[in-house]
Amino acid sequence: MKETGPTAMGRRNMLLGAGALGSGLLLTACTSNSNGDADKANVKAASSASGSTPGKHVTVGFSAPAADHGWIAAITKNAKAQAGQYTDVSFQAAEGTNDVNAQISAVQTLIDKKVDVLVILPFDGKALTSIGAQAMDAGIPVVNLDRVFDNSLAYRTWIGGDNYGMGVNAGQYIVKTLKAKGVSKPVIAEIAGIDNLDLTKQRSQGFKDALAKAGFSVSIRQAAQFTADSGQQVMSNVLQARSKLDAVWNHDDDQGIGVEAAIKQAGRSEFFMVGGAGSRHAMQEIKADSGVLKATVVYPSSMSASAITLARLIGQNKGMGDLVEQEVPSSITLFSATVTKENVDLYLPTSFT
């Protein structure tokens, strides 16, 4: 998610080859601070709905990008933990990768293993479309998670976040807050994520549209790389570019750690900030109300757990308990809730770390 370009891909390839060296490098790697998966995974025990009674055994294959970012790491963890909730589901995860070529191979392997249902979060939806279609042709239903395939023939069901809506909600919160403060010509900054991902474009478009309705616009927009490192670098320059800001929207909370650091280091506090994605750290900051961060728009990492549930239902030819429909719907768009001090306690449990 954070890495793009041939170098990053080369690195990923080397990672496979040089794994042995890595494990030998620091023997203490096994002292990793993993706190166990279950305690921080967003899973929901099978509810009392009709679909929860054990049924036909289903093998779910799972493929996602490399878990090198808090949100993606949470996606993988949540999927695995949710599968563990079901006695009738076995879970086969392919190695995460940011190389579309490697991900195609990984999915191919899962098809060859004849899993019953596939859950795929493609690194790049367009590039993975053909392998999705191939799985469907082989009779394996595909649950397309988040980043959308180019062709609806390539998946049975899509479930994912609403990037446009995320931008809209961030924009609406900023408009509402500025109006309440009586600011008429605000200076608004946007710290976007990786610019060549569709999701970034959609977030920015939603933000722009929401601001435009109030007659506001973005004064300065810079892209970072979804890392604290890049967030810090970009924000420290943005703060130099505008000696006074009224509001900032930062697309990603992991990157936000660096953005906040830059703000503190510059000693600026004349504006308020809205985050994105919904990390635990960001929510704790919002709750404490001690800094510039006043809200974050959620991009639920629990969606992978829901995807596993859908995969199971599809595999067992069941519908969704509370819906009237006989089958699982073909598309489910999640809601990007705006988390503020008022409702943060509701969302803290589903935040990602």
């Binding site: 954070k2 890495e3 170098t7 990053a8 690195r11 990923r12 080397m14 990672l15 080859g17 040089a18 794994g19 060296l21 890595g22 494990s23 490098l25 620091l26 203490t28 790697a29 002292t31 990793s32 601070n33 993993s34 706190n35 878990a67 090198d68 970012h69 808090g70 993606i72 790491a73 610019d195 004064s219 300065i220 810079q222 892209a223 790389q225 890392t227 604290a228 490192d229 890049s230 967030g231 810090q232 670098q233 970009v234 420290s236 320059n237 943005v238 703060l239 130099q240 570019a241 505008r242 000696s243 992991d254 750690i257 660096g258 906040e260 650091a261 503190k264 280091q265 510059a266 750290h281």
Partner: protein, 366 residues
């Protein structure tokens, strides 16, 4: 041994006219192995006198060119944004340059010594994760700094041993390390950003002295130490000699392997220090810190006039290279230009610098 040394002056002569450093160093070697009375004088005196003219040979002209570029950038920055020429912004540029500057010091040594270190970014990641995760921040400021620098040195040592004694090509060794060290960082951190809660540690990035952040002093100090080490010590002369012609250096009595190994340790130490700086700056340790820093530091070294093949180079030039890149980024953000244009500009600068190097290289044998 004496027969083998005879062809050297001729070899050196072909390299010498183009530059000062390595040529002079290698020719100075006979005095080190005591090949009779040198037509200089006593050794320390000879060393000093031969170093003095090196202040203004061609590669310094290159540095001068970079200075001109920097001034031009300053003019562009001032013309396009009223915020460019403020104390705050200049300090901001220097602070942004601090982390990559420290890494580039180590990279310059490695490249002059005839190697390359592709693992610097990954070392930063693993060192930062180590000081925020494994040390769990419970050992406080000292423990965090110590562990980061130690981890950096250990990974550097591993690189060095594999390259110098394992005889694996530096490019391959450090490429493998780039991948595996980041993998280790991901494993150690469980792919989570560890927010630093030790306030005294974060103050490394916020504390100022006379209005200038500690980070800038830290970079300046390391650059000065690096410059002295490179230009005023035997270690430095050996670095040029090893990079220029390892065989000649070996014959001149330099422990080439050990020296090569030490260069990677030096780079690892720089990465460890940079990790401390970056972790304090971002107030977090994460496996994705230092992403692509290897390219940034190598680019700075190359546009700074250091020969990618080794044997010749300038630390001053490397730091100017870092400042050029940092200033460009700053100007682009001040003017709200997009990332793609920044990338194109950076690429063009690297290309022009390499072309300049090639024209000089082509001229040198004449």
């Amino acid at each position: 041994m004496s027969d083998q040394t005879t062809p050297r002056p001729a070899e050196d002569a072909s390299v010498l006219p183009a530059q000062g450093r390595s040529g002079a160093d290698v020719t100075a070697k006979p005095s080190l192995v005591k090949e009779g009375p040198d037509p200089g004088a006593t050794r320390p005196g000879a060393g000093r006198r031969q170093q003095l003219p090196r202040f203004f040979p061609l590669h310094q002209v290159h540095s001068l060119g970079l200075l001109v570029v920097l001034v031009l950038l300053g003019v562009v920055g001032t013309a396009t944004s009223g915020n460019f020429l403020t104390t705050d912004n200049i300090v901001n540029i220097l602070t942004s340059a601090a982390v990559i500057g420290v890494i580039t010091v180590g990279q310059t040594f490695v490249i002059i010594g005839g190697g390359i270190d592709l693992s610097v970014g990954a070392i930063v990641a693993v060192a930062s994760v180590w000081c925020t995760t494994v040390a769990t921040q419970s050992y406080g400021l000292g423990g965090m700094i110590f562990t980061a620098v130690v981890v950096g040195s250990v990974v550097g040592l591993l690189n060095g041993v594999l390259i110098a004694y394992g005889k694996i090509v530096a490019f391959i060794t450090t490429l493998a390390m780039m991948a595996s060290a980041r993998g280790v960082a991901e494993r150690l951190s469980d792919r989570q950003s560890q927010v630093v809660t030790v306030d005294s540690f974060n103050r490394i990035a916020t504390d100022k002295f006379l209005g200038i952040p500690l980070l800038v002093y830290l970079m300046a100090g390391i650059v000065v130490i690096g410059w002295l080490l490179l230009n005023r010590t035997t270690f430095g002369r050996h670095t040029f000699a090893v990079g220029g012609n390892p065989e000649a250096a070996r014959l001149a009595g330099i422990a080439v392997r050990r020296h090569t190994m030490l260069l990677y340790v030096l780079s690892g130490v720089c990465c460890g220090i940079a990790a401390v700086m970056l972790t304090a700056r971002t107030t977090s340790g994460a496996s994705n810190l230092g992403n692509l820093y290897e390219l940034d530091s190598i680019a700075a070294v190359i546009i700074g006039g250091t020969l990618l093949a080794g044997g010749r180079g300038s630390l001053f030039g490397s730091i100017l290279g870092v400042l050029v890149f940092t200033t460009i980024t700053n100007i682009f953000v001040l003017n709200n230009l997009t990332t793609d244009i920044q990338e194109i500009a950076k690429g063009l600068i690297i290309l022009v610098a390499v072309l300049l190097q090639r024209t000089r290289g082509a001229r040198s044998p004449a």
